[in-house]
Amino acid sequence: MAAVRKPKIAVWKFASCDGCQLSLLDCEDELLSVVGAVEIANFPEATRAVVKGPYDISLVEGSITTPHDEERIHTIRRSSKLLITIGACATSGGIQALRNFKNVADFIPMVYAKPEYIETLSKSTPINDHVFVDFQLRGCPINKLQLVEVLNAFLNRRKPVTPAHGVCMECKRRGTVCVMVANGTPCLGPVTLAGCGALCPAYDRGCYGCFGPKETPNTTSMSAGWTALGVTEPELVRAFRSFNAYAEAFRKESEAHER
């Protein structure tokens, strides 16, 4: 095949901590080959150069929390052939979606001296509540190796290989003894999507769900297991309300324990 132009990649940021796009810069070994294979067309964290769209791939970090961003995401979608969301903020609303369970008007004066300066939406919502998303990469933060896999897959027009199963499977593969069964440590592993490598149990702590719900999670059963270990209802609510609080399965389960 004749030489083709390099695919144009753009990185966009909404409400977030920057950690997921940092994952791209954290690919120290792969970075120079990745950027050799593509044209970085918009990536403010890394470059002051900006190339106009349309873009072959847009990576979107962060959640929608302001009226301005609500509009901006549509502009980005229109100029992107493929739109991939990276991280818990972009795929479930992130930690800032904790506002969704409260009245945001009460939040503002707790932080800001002049609330009238603050323009914000009542809810923090994931990108696919607003536009069509071609692929969602989960995690708080994302796993950088998964990011390389996803980019590789889309650049080569194949489906990314990312698991749909839970963290439990990763513990078994890794040979980690179950912290819940062996130590009675409450663990969200049974309902949480794999991808991190089952880190927390390997460090003697329970999974805290930063990759969000796995496919068909049985949250009710898991909560019963936690209750048997002495976990209280408010503690269950908090456990499901962290970095993926507004992901449907976690949201419903937390609400079930609030009643």
Partner: protein, 429 residues
């Protein structure tokens, strides 16, 4: 007449999103604004009602670049409140983890975010074509910082191994020993970084800053110390709020932190260096002197050089800790919550990060206050710009704009951190 504006809609190579606005009229700078349009995320608000032991993981999410700083300040706050002081190997492991974050963050800033300004490139990717060896050195240095975070913390972004009282699991001796050879390379590479950076041309610029940093009797500050300044401040961190306040100016786009007595101040590597030069290792001091730095440096453009010196220190400190590491009997100290207020102030790569929490008898957070380093530097950054631009009005606009951006990047600003400060108003002419 003769009016001009410098407007940078999206400031690049900083963490988070902000813009820059300078208005010049009749050869005089009339207005300088750093627009911070990161959306607010309300961390202090939703921390209310969360348990003390959730704060390290939650506040880490304020910043993906310096999560360890947030974890450390929140842990120290809870430990102070509940009457626990961490000593011995757990304390050393915390310093080691922090060294990892410093090395990673400093290498990122020096090589990928700031050096391109000095060498005239839009970014590190373009710079890599002409300076492949330097960029490879920077990437490996950064990777070694990340390796420390991965071994001690579980992963490099939002480590999972930190808890109030210590760690969930202590690394084994062989795990830490495995870092030694890489760290020796990193130490030498950091010294080389000092030489490399010292060949840059630094704009001639300085102001009479008040530098603020932690100071500890026995060590270069990371986790603990008193708050001191170059103009005589010397207080325990518990008195922070009696001396510093956040101001919400009507015409300012961000909440600024200021010293009540004297106004703007400067935190970060330059401040730490100036107030703690005597605590650096002999090798780090030598690297500084060889690079042409005196024991005091007031030129913010040389911050990149001071970061390189601190990287030498962080590598040596990590090697020291690894060299005498003994696995603690238990990786954490138990804490019992009580009604109390706790303070934490630690040295994030870009300066002091202050946390204060009030807890109830069950350890639930009643209220929280978090002051990140970038918000403390905002006032100094705007003042820098005002003075910097005034002396360079003869420059063509694109050149001046780039230099303004470079002046902001001196502070390695982390706008994601500073977002509990947003005021979104973009001035258009």
């Amino acid at each position: 007449m003769n009016a001009k504006t410098i407007k940078v809609d999206v400031l690049a190579r900083v963490e988070g999103e902000g813009g820059l606005f300078v208005r010049v009229r009749d050869q005089r700078v009339t207005e300088v604004k750093l627009n911070i349009f990161e959306p607010p995320r309300f961390f202090e608000a939703f921390l209310r009602g969360r348990k003390f032991n959730e704060a390290p993981d939650i506040t880490a999410r304020i910043c993906g670049i310096c999560p360890v700083a947030y974890q450390m300040s929140s842990c120290h706050a809870a430990e102070e409140a509940f009457g626990v002081h961490i000593e011995g190997p757990i304390r050393e492991l915390r310093r080691l983890l922090y060294c990892g974050e410093w090395i990673e963050s400093h290498a990122l800033h020096i090589y990928m975010l700031h050096a391109p300004d000095f060498l005239g490139y839009e970014d590190v990717i373009r710079m890599a074509k002409d300076h492949p060896d330097a960029v490879q050195r920077g990437l490996r240095l950064k990777k070694i910082g990340n390796q420390i975070m991965t071994v001690v913390g579980g992963r490099e972004i939002h480590p999972i191994n930190v808890r109030v009282g210590g760690f969930y699991k202590a690394p084994s001796k062989p795990q830490l020993k495995g870092l030694t050879e890489d760290l020796k390379w990193a130490r030498d590479a950091a010294v080389e970084t000092c030489h490399w950076v010292s060949t840059f041309t630094f704009p001639d610029f300085q102001r009479d800053y008040e530098f603020v940093a932690l100071r500890h009797p026995d060590e270069y500050p990371l986790n603990e110390g008193r708050l001191v300044s170059s103009k005589g401040l010397d207080i325990p961190i518990q008195e922070y709020e009696q001396h510093f306040a956040e101001e919400h100016h009507k015409h300012s786009n961000a909440l600024h932190s200021a010293l009540l007595e004297r106004g703007s101040y400067f935190v970060g590597p330059l401040a730490r260096y100036n107030l703690n030069f005597d605590k650096l290792t002999p090798l780090a001091q030598k690297a500084a002197r060889t690079a042409g730095l005196a024991a005091t440096c007031r030129n913010p453009f040389q911050g990149i050089l001071v970061r390189a010196v601190e990287t030498v220190y962080a590598c040596e400190e990590a090697l020291r800790i690894i060299g005498h590491y003994e696995v603690p009997d238990k990786p954490f100290v138990d804490v019992t919550p009580r009604v109390a207020i706790g303070h934490g102030c630690t040295e994030a790569p870009r300066g002091i990060l202050y946390h204060r929490y009030r807890y109830d008898d069950r350890g639930l957070i009643l209220n929280a206050k978090i002051v990140p380093p970038t918000s403390q530097n905002l006032k100094a950054m705007e003042e820098d710009l005002s003075e910097f631009v005034s002396a360079r009005l003869h420059l063509p606009n694109d050149r001046l704009q780039w230099q303004c951006e470079q002046a902001i990047r001196n502070y390695d600003p982390c706008i994601s951190c500073a977002t509990h400060f947003l005021k979104l108003r973009v001035e258009r002419e």
